[in-house]
Subunit: 399 residues, 3 copies
């Protein structure tokens, strides 16, 4: 069966059970079954297949996709906009600065007020430990209630565009890239993955990427190592999940304080800066108290702490120690590139340059992953709908 | 005839004269005939009926809906975006901060420059007494001239998204909610309505809601009471309109300085804070002069004045005095809820909670009211067009 | 052949060679052949013809048009949004303030990250000499590479929405207005054009309009005079282009330091303020060094320099000296109108008023010019596609 035909993907879907995704939401990858994740990958590939053959995948004639970004974003913002557009939804951004939300409005109320014609809500809220995921849950509870009470015609689907715990659209895109790179999910067993901290001159980057990676990559029978200097721990609950995943799939999850150890013979490396979990918790408290002096002191402290680990960088030397010197280098971008975007950073300029194309391809999966999450939540029979789109054969572009 | 079929609404439309709405605008409810208002309600219901049966109501294949918000907004912004999307228009926001308008451009010029492909312009401009309505009129004059002169292919329709005088999309949504709550417009005669001021710890809220309510609700044979502390008068011209409306429809319009009196036996209560008309006039002057010290002094004075009336709150005790203790509680949202969004505010938390679903339903009519205003301005034969949409039967969502 | 039928324009296209525009970009008018410019004018007219007959010109079922404005804009922003909407693309604005670009990201990376589903990128970057055009080139190089490397499914087309050198969408719209005003391009030979500096109380306006005008208008056999006070030179390279154009087409390009001389017997006048080229270069350097004091000193100096030339204004007296006292007055808007938007400015209020309709019509061509540039870059056979749209005959608006 040819990957260039849609039937390849329809056959894959036929073997998967994902019926619970209908009208569901996407918060954390570890809440989904293996079949459900496989369905997301397969629908993402199928949508890409259709688009690349100039076949429209609009399943909405009208409708809104609401975005709420509580942190700056280029990639995720454009990925969400692209995914909505691909399916026929118009993006309406909830810019909290332009809204009346400061004016004492509850989450429950705002969630309903923006959802009268919303099919999807995408939220990025990654800055404060213990907040982002909780907020997203509250939004879904509100619109679920609103739909049950007859206030909302439809329950919009939530897509987690990054929270304090997981970054599922990123990590699923990363994984789809890995799957294609290694020629199929069946080739991943036993591959060695190094998810490692790396030095950055900025501070306070979210933990959701390393957490998302160890929570997801351990499900494919791979040997995942999490490496970071002492003091840069991630959330212990997520480590537990990684450990349990590995046990189930015959892979492994280990930790080390040596970047070199993690890189040795690795098939995949993901060197990336993040803030220590404990510091992020402290910062969340300080913000809660409005303690500006405390926040500034903490920032200074964290930058000084970071600076002690400038040797945690993805250098050419380290890359040589990976499998055949050719591990697949991953990054969610933008990276802190030594000599390019900063003096000393996460990765050598020459390493980054060599992997530029694969990195951009990695990023290119995100719009399709988001679209697939929406598609699966909004279609009673996704395979039949994909087939119907193929048969409808509306050109995406007359030209 | 079943309300679940479109024919119920088409039959209603058949009995109404609204031909003057074609290519018209919507500034103030009292400029419209009873039939014209009935047409807006009916088309709003019809559009909702179609959408809830998954039938596309797109009458535009392309085209822009321009929004201009001179005040923060969530609900109205999303309602306008939803209405435009429902009909097939893409929203383009005129963000004055990002434009060159400060650079000495006239209203006439801006209005034409943004309208080359605009079918609708929605404006919220409610902050300064004597300004908002005047500005909206100037915009319509400009595009009417531009169309007559051959500059514009079409005259865009203006929808008043709140001015200094009226808030027609809000009050029409409120009224459609009331109509459905009481089982039809024919059941409203003799109902007692309390439009009353309520305490809020913020100040300077627009007068357009109380004005819009007394200007509209008096047209249905109801007994409307406007209650507020001394010094919180609304525009006398609008009171005149309310009085004249009541005289015509066999209802009444009265005023009181007692919230308790207004609530007694009321079928509908609408307790909501607003700023005194005279103070808003003064503030408009001070802004005009750029008198910052004067503005700050006025704000302080107004907050102190508000604080003398903390007893003006929609308490459980007051609610018990309404008709069977069960008056329909209305609010345009967001409300200042005592113990939730502020210490002491417009309404008790328990009252608000009990009415949450009806309040959200009240808000849910706004996108349809806006869409109906546009639909009536842009269709030569709205009933025939609704019928054609039903027959076209394009699914809003394949799923 | 009737101009009201599409065939008039299809016949025109049949005689032109513009096959190199397919998958191309639009940076500078002088990089395009005469046939290519004629194709843009013709397709713009054809798209307007279809839209005015209520025929949809959507050639995209979905897809994004990315906009990036590095300077405030109303007209160009709405023109780009209108053009994209007309063709079926949804605008997604890259607001650098809300993005992570400050965070050390390269142009190459950003360009690819926003382009996974982008068919068009429109950029306005006109503030710094030597920067805007270079930046636009870098973006196109990046996405061309991205497409070649298999990262991007399509190479988005760049439309220059104003750079430091040219403002092609403005000047092409100006020229299409001129063509229609004089009843055809064949009537332009020998017409006298005065592109002259005019006094404005603001400073630092881009040079791209005068440069774009002399670079474009000299291609039609007209006698173009560039007039400005000493010290207000434009880029010498562009003057060279104007001179070469004139030589080729039998027209002329001359320079003068007298506004009166330029206006005498002129058929077309374009009086408009701009900053001196040398001062803009200096400012670019100062910004590069972050020299705030230097920038402020320069601004003061430039305003003082401007103020020495308040007599450079398009007065009624000067207008009387033009051809029959009735030259066509052009401006890209907004103009600094004496007694309206400033005390003393570029043009008398009475002159501006008399030309208001033609000025607004001039502006009305811009959305169609932009749409034509996109159409020509995205259609293998534009004439056949226009014909297909006519035959498809989808109404733009049911009503």
């Amino acid at each position: 069966m040819d990957k260039n035909t849609l039937h390849f993907y329809l056959d894959k879907l036929a073997g998967l059970d994902f019926h619970k995704m209908y009208n569901g939401d996407f918060f954390l990858t570890w809440e989904k079954t293996d079949d459900e994740l496989a369905a997301v990958f397969t629908v993402a590939d199928a949508l890409r297949n259709l688009r690349e053959r100039n076949i429209s995948t609009k399943i909405f004639d009208s409708g809104l996709g609401i975005s709420l970004f509580r942190d700056n974003s280029t990639r995720t913002r454009f990925s969400f906009a692209s995914a909505c557009n691909l399916l026929g939804l118009e993006v309406q951004d909830l810019d909290e600065g332009k809204s009346q939300i400061a004016h004492g409005e509850t989450v429950r109320e705002t969630a309903n007020m923006i959802s009268f014609m919303a099919d999807v809500i995408g939220i990025r809220d990654d800055m404060y430990i213990g907040k982002g995921h909780t907020y997203q849950k509250a939004v879904v509870d509100a619109v679920t209630q609103g739909h049950a009470d007859g206030v909302l015609e439809q329950k919009p689907t939530l897509v987690n565009l990054q929270c304090d715990i997981d970054h599922p659209t990123q990590c699923m895109a990363d994984m789809l890239h890995v799957i294609h790179h290694f020629g199929g999910v069946e080739n991943l067993k036993g591959k060695k993955v190094a998810m490692t901290w790396a030095y950055s001159p900025s501070y306070g980057k979210p933990l959701s990427v390393p957490q998302g990676v160890i929570g997801l990559f351990t499900r494919f029978g791979m040997d995942v190592t999490l490496a970071h200097p002492q003091g840069y721990e991630v959330m212990p609950e997520v480590e537990e999940i990684a450990r349990a995943n590995a046990a189930k799939t015959g892979g492994s999850f280990s930790k080390t304080h040596s970047m070199a150890e993690a890189f040795r013979d690795a098939d995949i490396v993901y060197p990336k800066s993040w803030a220590p979990f404990a510091a992020m918790e402290k910062r969340t408290d300080l913000y809660g108290k409005g303690d500006t002096a405390g926040i500034q002191a903490l920032e200074k402290e964290l930058l000084a702490q970071n600076a002690q680990h400038k040797d945690w960088t993805c250098s050419e030397e380290l890359m040589k120690t990976t499998k055949d010197g050719k591990a697949l280098y991953l990054h969610c971008l933008p990276a802190d590139i030594s000599g390019v975007s900063c003096l000393e950073g996460e990765v050598d300029g020459s390493v980054f340059d060599r992997y530029r194309d694969p990195l951009y391809k990695q990023a290119s999966y995100k719009p399709y992953i988001i679209a697939a999450m929406i598609f699966l939540a909004k279609s009673k029979d996704p395979a039949a709908l994909l087939q119907a789109l193929e048969e409808r054969a509306t050109p995406r572009h007359l030209g």
